[in-house]
């Protein structure tokens, strides 16, 4: 390294340090501490309350044995899926999203790129590590109540595992990005690891590095598998080290594209503009509609809005289709987990289906993206919005069906099919309504409203309502059915009763959607 390069590195270090200091100076330390204090107090209290109130039964001996024996492989499969996602993201230039000015002035300067990119990469890894630890600790707080082992053991074990998963994902992405792996090779490597972990799950072995990492999550149930877990950790640490050292090879073209998108994404996230966040995330992932549809609709139908929806779905890129289906399968598995006693999983099932629903309301969201075009159509605005819900409900029904099949495979087929059949349509309708509310929410309209003057924090309520309703739409009928089954009453009947409330909620949301769009239209229809 010549003197000029050393001097440039010093300039880079000094400027970054100065910018950091300036940022810290601008922060209101007391305000920040107060916020952290409130979040910790409220979060901790809510967590303790929910965990205690759920009072889930302890897992039986067979369940514990199964979790100890098969858990690592299945959790490893999850790790492998995350690594696959990381590799694919890296092949598209992720995970770093640096400033456009940093690309223009630092990456085009005669400075070692790996050295200049290591700091932002480490910052991203640190953030992921912290988030993973918090999520793992929360999960550990639920786990120790149902499984043998001390609270400390479970909290530590799950915190370690949940910290390791995002780290593996990010380091895989760094590696793929720095080494310029092509999407095909990155996908093949990820699928290879996934297949290895699935083979472990099928054969009951622990040979894949991802499975070994899965051992971390069940450490209190493992005897003498510490070493295997350490091997898994060492494998991914080595992968991370290689990733960090090769990051200088990243594509500047991708870095520039991501820099522009990430800046917009941060702004949209800060104003809770869900629709823009979704659109930008798709662009970051290079997720574009197919030029040639999977199939072409025949004739000129009588139902243009219904056909418009299908035209959109038939151009879905494979990644989006796989994601929707995976969300359905995950929701089914989570519902089965909730049925067998881990109540909080019902909430996660709701969130999984909401992810699929947000993709499905794309045709409706596009009407909202272009209100002028929509307002000039010779149809009633509220009727148009309602008609846009039909095709997504049908597709979400198919996705939910995949979940029911999964739940049937994992638990009692008869109960799963019975309860699933009752839940299928109302769940699809409610979730699509929630997604439509999210996608058509205009954060800027809220900012200019009197509610914002009352408290800007009320925006979180507006953003949170569709999420809360999605969770309730799955959890309420599912848990009611579980309770009925435990008491020897008809589970299907209990679920059906709850679905009346779900459908009533969906009707209210449909009314609200129509009203909102009519209110915003410049020409009342």
């Amino acid at each position: 390294m010549d003197r000029e390069e050393l001097a440039a590195k010093r300039v880079l270090r000094e400027m970054r340090s100065a910018r950091r200091s300036r940022l810290v100076e601008q922060l209101d330390a007391m305000e920040l501490l107060y916020r952290v204090y409130v979040v910790l107090m409220v979060g901790g209290f809510a967590l303790a309350l929910i965990a205690g109130a759920l009072n889930d039964a302890e897992v039986g001996v067979r369940g514990i044995e199964a979790l100890g024996d098969d858990g690592p492989a299945w959790l490893g499969t999850g790790v492998a899926l995350a690594v696959l996602a990381g590799l694919r993201s890296g092949a598209r230039g992720g995970p770093l999203a640096i400033e456009a000015a940093e690309v223009q002035y630092v990456l085009l300067a005669p400075v070692d790129r790996a050295a200049s990119l290591r700091a932002p990469a480490l910052r991203q890894l640190r953030g992921a590590l912290l988030a993973g630890i918090v999520i793992g600790a929360v999960a550990g707080n639920f786990a120790f109540r149902r499984l043998p082992g001390s609270p400390l053991e479970w909290i530590l074990s799950l915190a370690l595992f949940c910290a390791a998963v995002p780290l593996c994902t990010l380091t895989a992405a760094l590696l793929a990005s720095g080494r310029r792996l092509s999407p095909v090779i990155a996908t093949a490597a990820g699928v290879g690891l996934l297949a290895w972990s699935l083979a472990d799950a099928a054969l009951g072995s622990m040979t894949s590095p991802a499975t070994m990492l899965g051992i971390l999550a069940t450490l209190p149930l493992q005897d003498g598998h510490w070493l295997l877990a350490a091997v898994g950790v060492a494998f991914f640490v080595a992968l991370g080290a290689v990733g960090l050292f090769s990051i200088g090879g990243l594509s500047l073209e991708a870095a520039r594209r991501r820099a522009n998108l990430a800046a917009q994404l941060r702004f949209s996230a800060s104003v809770q503009d869900v629709r823009t966040v979704i659109l930008l995330r798709r662009q970051l992932a290079s997720e574009h509609p197919r030029r040639r549809p999977w199939a072409r609709l025949r004739g000129q139908g009588r139902f243009p809005v219904w056909r418009r929806g299908w035209h959109s779905f038939l151009r879905w890129p494979p990644a989006r289709a796989v994601r929707a289906l995976a969300a359905g399968v995950a929701a089914g598995a989570l519902a089965a987990g909730a049925w067998s006693g881990t109540t909080p999983l019902a909430a996660v099932a709701g969130l999984a289906l909401l992810v699929a629903a947000l993709d499905l309301v794309e045709p409706l969201a596009q009407e909202t993206d272009h209100p002028t075009r929509r307002d000039l159509l010779p149809v009633r605005q509220d009727s148009l919005i309602r008609r846009h819900l039909v095709a997504p409900v049908v597709v979400l029904g198919i996705v939910t069906l995949a979940g029911i099949v999964t739940a049937a495979a994992l638990g009692s087929p008869r109960t799963a099919i019975g309860v699933g059949a009752v839940m299928l349509l109302p769940t699809a309708i409610a979730l699509i309504c929630c997604a439509a509310l999210s996608a058509t929410h205009d954060p800027y309209a809220f900012i200019s409203s009197s509610l914002y003057m009352l408290s800007p924090n009320l925006s979180y309520v507006q953003t949170g309502i569709p999420i809360a309703v999605s969770i309730a739409a799955i959890s309420a009928p599912l848990l009611a059915a579980r309770m009925a089954a435990q008491q020897g009453v008809s589970a299907v009947g209990a679920a059906a009763l709850m679905e009346i409330f779900v459908l009533a909620g969906a009707a209210a949301m449909i009314w609200w959607l129509g009203r909102r769009v009519v209110e915003r239209a410049p020409v009342q229809s």
Binding site: E4, E5, A7, A8, V11, L12, M15, R19, R22, L23, E99, A100, A101, E102, V103, Q104, Y105, V106, L108, A109, P110, V111, D112, S251, L252, E253, R256
Partner: protein, 237 residues
């Protein structure tokens, strides 16, 4: 002594493109593009919108990868340390750190390129561009034209052998345009090659050579005469 330094022979090219191409999902933005640029040359790159001018500049700057052919800058691959040292790229859309003042930008960029007298050089540049009172201001306080001038200062504050300026005259008032003509002329006098993409006939007329692009292909390479001037305002095919 190498051929490049032999008296009477042309100096070796500082930038050399051979069969250069770039496609986006099947669309050829640049195709079979050949170009030699020698030290001290002033080249105007002309052509209608979408002709491939920016694509060529971003490939030469190392921001974009070619899908065909080759390009070398001072004998190195674009994007290599040597090439980064040699090429200064002035983008068509100015890029700034939102939390750094103009003065801090100049100090930073100068420092990254090992400029010893960065402060003096920056002050002189800002004076000439009429931005001397704005050194402590943040880019968010600048008008469109001022952002362009700040971007010009950032491209010129560091040493370079090749300057790639993408429509640098856009948004400038007439006095600033004159200053930019002077600055580009001075850069050329120091032996740097200056490539400017433009739609302005006066910029074409002031250059020593004109290169025309159309639909991603080389359509003209010669003196900035009447034919070249007509290319600068050509309609897309």
């Amino acid at each position: 002594m190498s051929a490049a330094h032999r008296p009477g022979s042309a100096p070796a090219p500082v930038l050399m493109a051979r069969g250069l191409g770039r496609s986006y999902d099947g669309f050829e933005a640049l195709s079979s593009f050949d170009l030699d640029v020698r030290p001290g040359e002033s080249i105007s790159l002309v052509g209608p919108n979408g002709a491939g001018k920016t694509t060529f500049f971003t490939i030469a700057a190392g921001l974009l990868e070619a899908s065909a052919g080759s390009l070398s800058v001072v004998g190195s691959d674009p994007g290599s340390i040597e090439a980064r040292r040699a090429v200064s790229y002035l983008p068509d859309t100015p890029v700034f750190y939102e939390d750094l003042s103009l003065g801090e930008h100049l100090e930073y960029v100068g420092g990254l390129h090992g400029v010893a007298d960065g402060g003096t050089r920056a002050t002189r540049l800002l004076e000439r561009l009429g931005m001397d009172g704005w050194s402590d201001s943040l880019p968010s306080e600048f008008s469109h034209g001022m952002r362009q001038k700040a971007s010009i200062a950032l491209a010129l504050v560091r040493p370079f052998a090749v300057l790639l300026a993408d429509e640098p005259f856009d948004g400038l008032d007439p006095p600033s345009r004159d200053v930019l003509f002077e600055l580009l002329g001075e850069a050329r006098e120091t032996g740097a090659a200056v490539l400017v993409s433009t739609h302005r006939p006066d910029v074409v007329a002031a250059s020593s050579r004109c290169v025309g692009l159309r639909d991603g292909r080389l359509s003209y390479d010669g003196p900035p005469d009447a034919e070249a001037l007509s290319l600068s305002s050509a309609r897309p095919a």
